[in-house]
């Protein structure tokens, strides 16, 4: 029997729980590897106060005969991610990349990307398990002249790094880190791809510049849209209402405090000594008792007493939302559209955890076709003049549905969309109120991107894979309000455009039909009337009815300014293709170049 009870090695655990860690399919493994490396790079840069400059390169790994199959056929890839971060001291490189569960982000309540996934070492280990290749790391800190190069693997039985090679090299970057992992994976474009993930990351982190070299050898650059780093989030202590019983018991065992009272006041936020005394009294526990000496039943009654006590909401200044300006900048520089709006809700609290919801919407095709000037030209020229056969007039192409970008602490969530509270909130919003078509229970229709960001010290996921946000009432309510705020602005813009478009259409429709009507009348009268005069008379009526100057005024109001009071905060593409409204200058330049 004894032989059967042995410690399970980390690698065995890993192999059996791949799905928890994001490596359950080759396709997902490739994405998770890129994601872990990029998340690490962004976090490292931000903590060091550096504007991130990140390069991601995915190559097809050469086969045994040295040839590389086409990316769509390949099953082995080499992923390289390089940043301009502070670099990692040589003594720590082994542990960071080749020891599971090593890191600074595990037991803290601070808004950070790293809450998700298990870290870069898991990706390195996955590569090692699937290809037998060690991972290669180059890192340089600013105050050392040369960089360190490591080739590392994990001793999977002991969960310890094994260094294969270690040398100092010259590197053309003043500081930063580069990691190269070879792994079994699968590359696809489209939804849930690395391409999509990096695009969304660029939108969510407009302060970062990301260069992506795809497996097909194409280089896509996502330039920076803002030059300010996000405010660094602050770490907070847990709120007494925000923790589960198991966690509470663990904290009581691990605490460095001595008494029950000091445990409650020191290890939690928003607990005064007066409140601590109240809790102890309710629980029938002596506040001066040694916390470590308490029996589990006593701790449980303390926990129950906490649940029936009122506390101040946790502090919310620990959150660092993306911000309305940066959100608009992120969308403007990445998603071509004609209208952008963003809203950052005030911080709120679910189960003692502070959180903040942000929503941004981009609407329109942005290729100028939807701008009224183009509509007018199109109407005037009447399309391509091609005759259409019976049945061809029906435009029964597929309806375009809105795209939803979900973010948790600035990290895109690409799987489990329909299980996510934010996605459900989009479905349950009545977009028809905002002039947008929507089938019952479906996504709104149209060229539209909806971004939803939840910033929190603790994002509640529905499952271990951390792909969808759980439906807490408070969260759903905040998302819905944010969607409504953006929707109302969007509605103002859509209605104005619709109104102007209708006016234009009326003008052109009448003008077109007048020709036909006048000619038919003339034929009916066997040519005995003055067709030109009839046409002239009808055109005069048309002009009077479609409001002449009034129409011009509506058209101008709706298109030229874009900064009406009721559209304050939104960014609108004007007739000349410029973006009007508040927007960081850099994002405007980037968008103009694109």
């Amino acid at each position: 029997m004894a032989a059967q009870h042995r410690e399970i090695s980390v690698s065995e655990f890993f192999a059996k729980n791949r799905h928890l860690l994001g490596f359950d399919s080759p396709r997902k493994a490739l994405l998770t590897t890129v994601k872990e490396a990029v998340d690490n790079s962004l976090d490292a840069c931000e903590e060091a106060g550096i504007l991130p400059d990140i390069t991601v390169k995915i190559e097809v790994a050469p086969g045994p005969d040295g040839t590389r199959p086409a990316p769509s056929q390949a099953d082995r890839f080499i992923v390289m991610v390089r940043d301009n971060g502070p670099g990692i001291p040589a003594s720590k490189i082994g542990n960071v990349f080749a020891k599971l569960l090593y890191g600074s982000k595990f037991h803290r309540l601070k808004m950070s990307r790293g809450q998700q996934g298990i870290g870069i070492s898991a990706a390195a280990m996955y590569g090692q398990i699937t290809t037998g290749r060690p991972c290669r790391v180059i890192s340089k800190v600013a105050d050392e002249p040369r960089a360190h190069l490591f080739e590392l693997s994990i001793d999977t039985a002991k969960n310890q790094p094994v260094v294969h090679e270690k040398q100092q090299i010259d590197w053309d970057q003043p500081h930063g880190t580069e990691v190269v992992i070879e792994l079994v994976g699968r590359y696809m474009r489209g939804r849930q791809s690395v391409d999509e993930y990096l695009e969304y990351t660029a939108i969510a982190n407009p302060h970062a510049r990301i260069v992506y070299v795809t497996p097909t050898g194409e280089t896509r650059e996502f330039p920076r849209g803002v030059e300010e780093l996000p405010a660094p989030p602050r770490e907070i202590k847990p709120h007494p209402l925000g923790i589960e019983l198991g966690m509470f018991l663990k904290m009581a065992r691990d605490t460095s405090t001595r008494t029950v009272s000091s445990f409650l006041t020191n290890d939690f936020c928003r607990v005064s000594s007066r409140l601590a005394a109240q809790i102890c009294e309710k629980a029938g526990v002596n506040p001066n008792a040694r916390i470590r000496k308490l029996k589990n039943e006593q701790l449980e009654s303390l926990y129950r007493a906490i649940q029936s006590t009122k506390f101040m909401a946790p502090p919310t200044d620990c959150l660092s939302p993306i911000g309305e300006e940066a959100l608009k900048a992120g969308l403007v520089k990445t998603v071509p559209a004609d209208f952008y709006v963003a809203t950052t809700r005030p911080p709120a609290v679910y189960r003692g955890n502070p959180f903040q919801i942000e929503v941004a919407i981009a609407y329109g095709t942005g290729d100028g076709k939807s701008s009224l000037q183009r509509v007018a030209e199109e109407l005037e020229s009447g399309g391509n003049g091609e005759a259409k056969a019976e049945g061809e007039h029906k435009d029964d192409g597929p309806t375009e549905l809105a795209r939803v970008i979900r973010l948790a602490n600035r990290v895109p969530l690409v799987y489990q969309q329909s299980a996510c509270a934010t996605f459900k909130a989009v479905l349950h919003t009545n977009w028809r109120n905002y002039g947008i078509a929507q089938s019952k229970g479906a996504l709104p229709q149209g060229p539209m991107t909806i971004l939803i960001h939840m910033a929190s010290v603790w994002v509640p996921f529905t499952n271990e894979a951390k792909e969808a946000i759980a439906e807490y009432d408070e969260i759903v309510r905040e998302v819905r309000r944010a969607l409504q705020e953006c929707g109302r602005k969007l509605a103002v813009w859509i209605r104005k455009r619709q109104q102007a478009k209708n006016e234009l259409q009326r003008r052109f429709t009448f003008a077109r039909y007048i020709e036909e009507v006048a000619a038919a009348c003339c034929r009916l009268k066997d040519g005995r009337i003055n067709q030109e005069r009839l046409k002239r008379q009808l055109l005069q009526i048309a002009e009077r009815i479609t409001g002449g100057e009034e129409t011009d005024r509506i058209l101008n109001r709706a298109t030229k300014t874009g900064v009406d009071e009721d559209l304050a905060g939104a960014v609108v593409r004007t007739d000349d293709g410029e973006l009007a409204g508040d927007l960081p200058e850099l994002a405007r330049q980037v968008a103009a170049k694109a």
Partner: protein
């Protein structure tokens, strides 16, 4: 609109003048600087009523204004004039055409656009019906032919297109009924029949024709292959009016069959304005009645279960003012109670010739019909 039955057919010149009147409306409004509009009677259940005294469906007074300078109506307004123009050509040249040809004739791309004047035939068909009711003109007067999908056989002689046609000598398939059967187009010379039997489906028409039912029972057989076209209805009406022949209708036992009978008897909702010259208020419903399967020993397994839409339709029929007679309420309710419908073809279950040798003779002898 309940004008007295008009017997005289309008001349080409009169029809042309009415069509021209539409252009006059536009010219006059344009001169005054006003939005031109046509007033078009509404063709819907909401605008028909059942005239109990005349026993036909009549069109009400409701009209809609179709004006040009209204974005929702501009296209139809333009189409109305295009169709009127095409119809006037028919008058000037004095020839007839089909609905389909009118559609092709008036279809073109509007200059400088890729918008078609008409995208589908249904658009021009609607406009033609609009013009019929607006100008109180008949389809024949507009020189537009309906589908010719009816047949006739039996002791009747008429002259059509200069040919003398004896319908006892037209083979088993009979003579096609033209869509225009007005005097002048079709002149009835001799009728010796005692009654007219209007059959819904070609199958039964062929059976009766092959069995020379018309000879033995001295009657005229007519069919319209489903809902009878105007020509068939109008010819039956003329035989009834001008020669005093009773008209019996034989249809499947389903809600659609009841409806076909009701259209023959008192007119349709869509073309209520034509009831006065199409409807035959004295027409009798010979069968198939929902009571016939029991009377004639048809087994349950040759019935067909009513579909949800059959049931909905039957319930609608129960509410129509022209189905309020006790006997009709009993008839329709009985169908709903049994939950089954029967095709005329089901009579073949007893014998191929059951219809000819037993069913119809018995019905006629016992006067087993519904009015």
């Amino acid at each position: 609109m309940a004008t007295a039955t008009r017997t005289r057919r309008k001349t080409n010149r009169e029809v042309a003048r009415l069509l021209e009147g539409l252009a006059d409306i536009v010219i006059e409004a344009a001169r005054k600087g006003e939005d031109p509009y046509f007033e078009i009677p509404v063709r819907a259940l909401s605008n028909v009523s059942f005239n109990k005294k005349r026993r036909i469906i009549e069109m009400g007074e409701n009209k809609t204004q179709r004006s040009f300078f209204n974005l929702g109506m501009a296209r139809k307004f333009m189409q109305t004039l295009l169709v009127a123009d095409a119809l006037k050509v028919l008058q000037r040249e004095n020839f007839t055409t089909s609905l389909r040809e009118i559609y092709y004739r008036t279809k073109h791309t509007i200059a400088g656009t890729n918008e078609n004047t008409f995208d589908e035939q249904s658009e021009s068909d609607t406009i033609i019906e609009d013009l019929e009711v607006t100008l109180s003109l008949l389809r024949e007067e507009l020189n537009v032919r309906a589908a010719e999908s009816g047949s006739i056989v039996g002791p009747i002689v008429f002259v059509e297109g200069g040919d003398r046609i004896d319908c006892t000598r037209q083979g088993k398939a009979g003579k096609t009924v033209p869509s225009i059967v007005e005097p002048g187009e079709l002149d009835i010379k001799k009728v010796t029949a005692d009654f007219v039997l209007l059959v819904e489906k070609g199958t039964q028409f062929n059976r009766l024709s092959e069995d020379k039912f018309w000879k033995k029972h001295n009657c005229i057989l007519l069919t319209g292959n489903g809902q009878p076209p105007r020509g068939v209805r109008r010819l039956a009406r003329r035989l009834h009016d001008e020669f005093g022949l009773p008209v019996y209708v034989l249809v499947d036992n389903d809600p659609w069959g009841y409806y076909i009978y009701s259209v023959v008897k008192q007119g349709s909702i869509n073309l209520a304005f034509e009831s006065q010259r199409m409807a035959i208020p004295d027409a009798k419903f010979l069968g198939l009645s929902s009571f016939d399967p029991e009377k004639h020993g048809l087994p349950r397994n040759v019935g067909i279960k009513l579909t949800p839409s059959d049931i909905r339709r039957a319930k609608e029929l129960l509410r129509y003012p022209w189905f309020q007679k006790k006997q009709w309420q009993k008839e329709i309710r009985h169908m709903l109670e049994t939950g089954l419908k029967y095709e005329l073809d089901a009579l073949a279950n007893k014998d191929f010739r059951y219809l000819t040798t037993d069913y119809l003779p018995k019905k006629l002898k016992e006067q087993d019909w519904i009015d």
